[in-house]
């Protein structure tokens, strides 16, 4: 059985940048990607969202993908992010290396399917897009761009999907099934889920304000991010540089309601506790919590209560970065994993943007301003999905 699970590469694309460097620069500058919708063709362009500042055509050109190849935005974003992660880790997937690819998405190919649905039903002009609608097909488009993966899978647990991908990748390495896993997720903006969230009445018509007493909802975002996970044997064997380790993770179900989190934050509490148990750390060892913090009245209260349950009197600095990237839904777990690891590596705490008013129920105030030059050794990243799918991951510096 392998020992530790190390992170050797990061790749991310979102509304705040199409590289790790750009993302870092945006976080340090307090720059948000939330704004007017530019790329998605919808009647609701007035709803603030965070889009990747690239059209599909631009992404195809960057990746040398010909126009004739049927592909969707989710897969394009995924390829970009995975490419960056692999380059960062200096790994080329090949069969000699037992390497897996675990992606996550909920929309899959819906961005094209919603445009072509009438054609699907009424004529044969867009049949090639029927084949790439399902989530697994989108993952395989990304995997096949690189080749060399011997295990490929896709997870969908709403907003905790890509966190669960990281957890599964870690398990596969610990059990000695694989030496290396590229794990994360990708989700592009679609009319389907923009309208879906609109019907739930949890979208803020202004820039979201996580953990603020007057918060009015979330801003959606699109994003893709992957971590390259490796066994320590493999890292040593190829003399690679490890960024940090996956110290622990926990998955628990809130089982309260399909679209709401419990007032006592039970599922979230359990997920964080399981992550701490696995890591062998005490709550007081955690230097920073990157919260799920969507900005909805429900999540922030439930998550806040859960943080108080677990951390009691020693609550570390907490911030949500969803006001930067928007809520990238299935990709949120891995997008925020990358952000958490950057914060740890570079020794800073991202500000929780737009916070002004303390929530009466919570005993902590989120990080109001960027703080730099800190020693951060252990970070906890929370991802809590609809349906009560709660996952927490702890990343630690290698000591």
């Amino acid at each position: 059985m392998a020992g530790q699970v190390l992170v050797t590469g990061l790749g991310i694309v979102s509304g705040i940048g199409i590289s790790v460097q750009d993302t870092l620069a945006s976080l340090l500058a307090g720059k948000s990607g939330v704004g007017i919708i530019k790329y998605l063709q919808t009647n609701h362009k007035d709803i603030p969202c965070s889009e990747i500042q690239l059209s599909d055509e631009q992404m195809c050109r960057m990746l040398s993908i010909p126009d004739s190849v049927p592909i969707n935005r989710t897969s394009l974003m995924g390829i970009l992010a995975a490419k960056n992660a692999l380059a960062d880790a200096n790994i080329t997937p090949n069969r000699a290396l037992r390497i897996g690819f675990i992606s996550s998405t909920t929309v899959g190919g819906m961005e094209k399917s919603e445009q072509f649905y009438k054609d699907f039903l009424e004529n044969d002009t867009r049949n090639e897009y029927i084949k790439i609608h399902d989530c697994g097909a989108c993952t395989e488009i990304i995997a096949d761009y690189f080749g060399g993966f011997s295990f490929v899978s896709t997870i969908s647990t709403a907003c905790s999907s890509s966190a669960n991908a990281i957890a599964l990748g870690s398990n596969l390495i610990k059990q000695g099934i694989l030496d290396c896993v590229v794990a994360g997720g990708t989700e592009c903006l679609t009319k389907f889920h923009l309208n879906g969230f609109k019907t739930l009445m949890i979208l803020d018509r202004a820039h979201c304000r996580p953990f603020d007493a007057t918060r009015a909802g979330l801003n959606l975002g699109e994003g893709a991010a992957y971590l390259v996970l490796e066994s320590d044997e493999n890292v040593q064997a190829r003399n690679a540089k490890a960024l940090c380790k996956v110290a622990g993770y926990g998955n628990a179900c809130d089982c309260y309601h399909q679209t709401a989190s419990s007032p006592d934050g039970k599922g979230a509490t359990l997920a964080m506790q399981y992550a701490l148990d696995m890591s062998g750390l005490k709550p007081s060892d955690i230097d920073y919590i990157n919260a799920h913090g969507t900005g909805t009245t429900n999540n922030d209260e439930s998550e806040g209560v859960a943080i108080m349950n677990v951390f009691g009197n020693s609550i570390p600095p907490v911030s949500s970065t969803k006001a930067y990237t928007g809520h990238t839904t299935s990709a949120a777990g891995s997008v925020e994993a990358v952000i958490s690891i950057l914060a740890m590596q570079e020794g800073f705490l991202p500000a929780n943007l737009n916070f002004k008013n303390q929530m009466a129920k919570l005993s902590f105030t989120p990080v109001r301003e960027l703080r730099r030059n800190l020693k951060i050794t252990h970070v906890l990243s929370n991802s809590f999905g609809f349906g009560g799918n709660n996952t927490a991951i702890i990343f630690s510096k290698i000591q």
Partner: protein, 334 residues
């Protein structure tokens, strides 16, 4: 280390729900057929059921049935596989969104359309706070769910798990499938829930020795031999191999090749002529495999040859999806 099958619920095109052993097969002439459903009122209250599409109702019914059969009060984990989730709700929301120009849309259809709603509604129904996950990798979604369960058992993180494969075939999706399918297979739908435990008892159907999911292996024959070898077995030790043959000539070639090359003298069986083909049809294959071992028989309507299945001690379930994703599940009698 084995993991034991303690209960199975199966709603399919056959009379499989809450039947002991093998029901008499139902043969269909139509190409579009739906499941034989139980009365869901026995499992779900009307106030809960009113929002649920068939795939969700079937998942809850088979989950409860398999749990009741196992005698285990609460699983430590609930892990589902589904290719499309509730395609019915997805279609309703999508069509309304297009027809009404993104106005007056109903939240229920959106909420029910997310793939993880199946696992999560099972958990809400059972009040299960355990590990909860959903795999959505096309034709091996069920096997991915089972793979994660086996990993958690191997790491001693769980002692019991509910693993399932759930998909539905709506009329609209059947229409789309016909546009992209090569030909030959019967389209199906189904719901299989399996209760697994790290301990066996008199209720045990069979043991799962190992599972492997492979992506584009260079040589599947070598991969199968390596898989068996890693688990202390050889091809010659298998008593029967259950194949995911579905009537599609291109896809079926590899099954026939492997069956002839590695298992020429062994019993061969198939199941997709009963279950139909759909993303999680391997769940039906799993049900068949477990029942063959439990009841010590291979029903004639699944046998592909006349070779004896001997002591039915070792069984290999072999499935693939589009010749890219392959799964191998090794069962043994206990």
């Amino acid at each position: 280390m084995g993991v034991f099958i303690q209960g199975i619920g199966n709603i399919s095109l056959q009379n499989t729900f809450e039947q002991i052993g093998f029901p008499e097969p139902v043969w269909y002439n139509e190409s579009y057929v739906r499941c034989i459903d139980p009365d869901f009122k026995n499992f779900i209250s009307p106030i809960e059921a009113r929002r649920m599409s068939k795939v969700i109702k079937r998942a809850i019914a088979t989950a409860k049935s398999s749990i009741a059969e196992s005698g285990i009060e609460m699983p430590d984990a609930i892990i589902s596989g589904t290719g499309l989730g509730s395609i019915d709700d997805t279609e309703k929301f999508l069509s309304a969104m297009i027809d009404n120009n993104e106005k007056f849309l109903q939240p229920t259809f959106f909420i029910q359309s997310t793939h993880n709603t199946i696992s999560s509604q099972i958990a809400i129904n059972l009040k299960c706070h355990g590990h909860n996950n959903t795999f959505v990798h096309g034709g091996i979604s069920f096997e991915c769910a089972l793979t994660e369960a086996m990993l958690l058992f191997a790491g001693n993180r769980i002692e019991t798990a509910l693993v399932g494969g759930y998909d539905e075939m709506t009329p609209a999706y059947f229409k789309l499938l016909n546009k992209i399918n090569t030909s030959g297979s019967l389209a199906g739908e189904g719901s299989v829930s399996v209760m697994l435990s790290s301990r066996k008892n008199e209720k045990t159907y069979a043991a799962i020795e190992a599972i492997e999911v492979l992506y584009q292996p260079e040589n599947i024959e070598t991969s199968i031999e390596a898989f068996l070898d890693r688990n202390g077995k050889k091809a010659a030790d298998m008593d029967i191999v259950v194949l995911g043959i579905n009537g599609d000539a291109q896809g079926d070639l590899i099954y026939k090749t492997i069956a002839a090359n590695l298992f020429g003298q062994k019993a061969h069986a198939w199941y997709k002529h009963l279950s139909g083909e759909y993303f999680t049809s391997a769940g039906f294959g799993f049900w068949l495999a477990a029942n063959c071992i439990k009841h010590r028989q291979v029903p004639p309507f699944v046998a592909l040859n006349s070779n004896s299945a001997g002591k039915l001690q070792n069984l290999l379930l072999f499935n693939h999806y589009r010749n890219k994703n392959f799964s191998l599940i090794l069962f043994s009698a206990c």
